[in-house]
Symmetry: C2
Subunit: 358 residues, 2 copies
């Protein structure tokens, strides 16, 4: 194997493929990137066997070949080189890297043992804007469960019907982002950590999504990302989304957020995060009582419907409000035991209240 | 106690006094800031008993008084308030904080138990630019010892004679910054961690330094910083600074730095950090051989004197070169077993080589 590549391009593509490489693996081969030089193209493959990222770039190939090189070390070396062309030559599992005044030789592994089981049964595909997918990931993955005991809820449910819904829930709150694309009906549960890596790779073009039996494939310009899917029955989230409400509160989003943040300061010290909302007389009183002290915040708002008292874990409330964009939001309540629902364009966020004794 | 203060000013001064408050203290009173409202001035005092910071600011005092409030909580609350005036009232150890729509009540501690032993025997003082002191701290503290067994070497030696030398050494390298101010002769060993906190407080005015028997006092505009001193005999650092050299190497500092950084990538993996320099024929060869591979960097330079081979722990070499400012530096050698000395204006950095078998 012998090729010449631009240092900056090479560094960029290593960073992409590297996202699938786990630092905690016990299999040495999985600490590596598979490099394949062929047809004036360099292909870089990183995998932890659940997530596989394949990135391709143009380069000048003088001699075809492939090898597995330690991902972190290779990435560090290339990143630190001067901005110029890099000449890479393989000889008996010794990779020689030459760039300007630098001359590296590093020991590599044979590509034979590198896992390449990308059998993929295509069950249909569709295309969306990379920016829409990024937004859907940003607005949902934070709400997945962190309990590893019910694996499927650590994933994001992609529900394709008349449109595409990305849904995350953890028993305390639910987040749903809809994208108006009509596709063949399908249901997939995608690991949230894979989506978070994908989010960092996505740019501003189009992404093609192909659904397989146990895998899903995301394809952008020069990159393919294969993620395994969780199997199992997802929660019937639609039943959670109440259509009619009794009390609507129109409030300035930023002021509401900072008031909750302040009111949480005392509750945070005690790790309860409990805050109370008293809604009446066109104002919301946010309060918290703890051993260290108490706090009361009063905010003007527009109330339609009867007043009410309701309590929340402030963290769950804040997580959703923080990622919204509008100046004003509408809080939809029915009573003190049913969820608060906030809709913002294609986004729905739902938080369960904390039930208080009396 | 009752006073009104600007939220931004108050927040700024809490952050300053807070720097002396340790988060790891077992004495609850030391988690607090002492607030003293008197003569339209608020004084904020934080201490861990070794480092004490006193910050003062103007405010409107309606009723004099003092109290100890949890430093982190008070800081978090004030920082999160809206930018406006804050009204603070103390009643039976309950501190009421009102600002716009926010109303906090927090439990406080009596100021009686707060340590205030600031007896200080003035043994002379002098003034320097805050920026000069900041620079001296930046260029020395990184080189102090991290071994707690010989406490005094975890401090910076301030040697006042014809000028003021700030000196740090740890047995592997030595850093010295000189400031051209003539003072009464004195020797103080100041804990490096206190200097690092001081560095964050210093601005662009003047700082008055007063030396006491077991303490040192730094005074800026509105802030007094008292630091305890280490007692003991410091190393006779001047003997280390060789005056004549046999080989001088003039080299581009940035290129030398990045070449060492690259050459260290392999050695870092093995945690040895060992790099070798071969100096001859108007070029420096930097190399490293490890089990993972090897690297060679070649840099042009101007050599006066005989060539030589010498080895270093790259970390110690880099630490010093990184904080220098000039485009070109001169490396001064005598042989492969004596220290490398680099001078840059008022700064001297010295690194001991690693002796290699044969």
């Amino acid at each position: 194997m012998k090729f010449r590549a631009s240092k900056q391009e090479l560094s960029k593509h290593i960073q992409i493929a590297q996202r699938a490489v786990s630092s905690r693996t016990t299999m040495q081969i999985l600490e590596g990137l598979l490099l394949i030089a062929k047809d004036n193209t360099l292909t870089l493959i990183g995998t932890d066997t659940d997530l596989t990222i394949i990135s391709t770039m143009a380069c000048i190939v003088e001699e075809e070949g492939e090898v597995v090189v330690n991902s972190r070390l290779f990435g560090d070396i290339i990143r630190k080189l001067e901005d110029s062309f890099v000449d890479i030559t393989l000889k008996d599992l010794n990779l020689n890297i030459v760039c300007k005044n630098s001359d590296f030789n590093i020991n590599c592994q044979s590509s034979k043992e590198f896992p390449r089981n990308l059998n993929f049964e295509d069950k249909g595909s569709f295309t969306m804007k990379e920016e829409d997918l990024k937004e859907a990931i940003r607005k949902t993955t934070f709400a997945v469960s962190i309990e590893e005991t019910r694996k499927i809820f650590t994933g994001v449910f992609m529900d394709c019907k008349e449109d595409i819904s990305f849904v995350a829930l953890d028993g305390f709150r639910m987040a749903r982002e809809r994208i108006a694309i009509s596709t063949e009906p399908s249901e997939s549960i995608i690991p949230a950590n894979h989506l978070n890596e994908l989010q960092k790779i996505l740019g501003s073009g189009d992404v093609k999504i192909t659904i397989g039996e146990r895998k899903i494939l995301f394809e952008t310009n020069n990159t393919k990302i294969y993620s395994t899917l969780y199997s199992g029955e997802y929660f019937n989230y639609k039943d959670l989304i109440r259509k009619s409400h009794t009390t609507e509160v129109k409030i300035n989003r930023e002021m509401f957020q900072t008031s909750i943040e302040r009111a949480s300061l005392l509750a945070k010290e005690e790790r309860s995060n409990l805050i109370k909302l008293n809604i009446a007389d066109n104002r919301v009183k946010i309060s918290s009582n703890t051993e260290i002290g108490n706090v009361e915040e009063v905010l003007e708002c527009e109330i339609n419907g009867p007043g009410l008292d309701i309590a929340f874990n402030s963290k769950y409330l804040l997580d959703g409000i923080k990622i919204m964009d509008e100046d004003e939001i509408v809080l939809n309540f029915t009573d003190s035991i049913n969820p608060l629902i906030i809709n913002e364009k294609s986004y729905t966020y739902l938080v369960l209240p904390v039930r208080l004794a009396n």
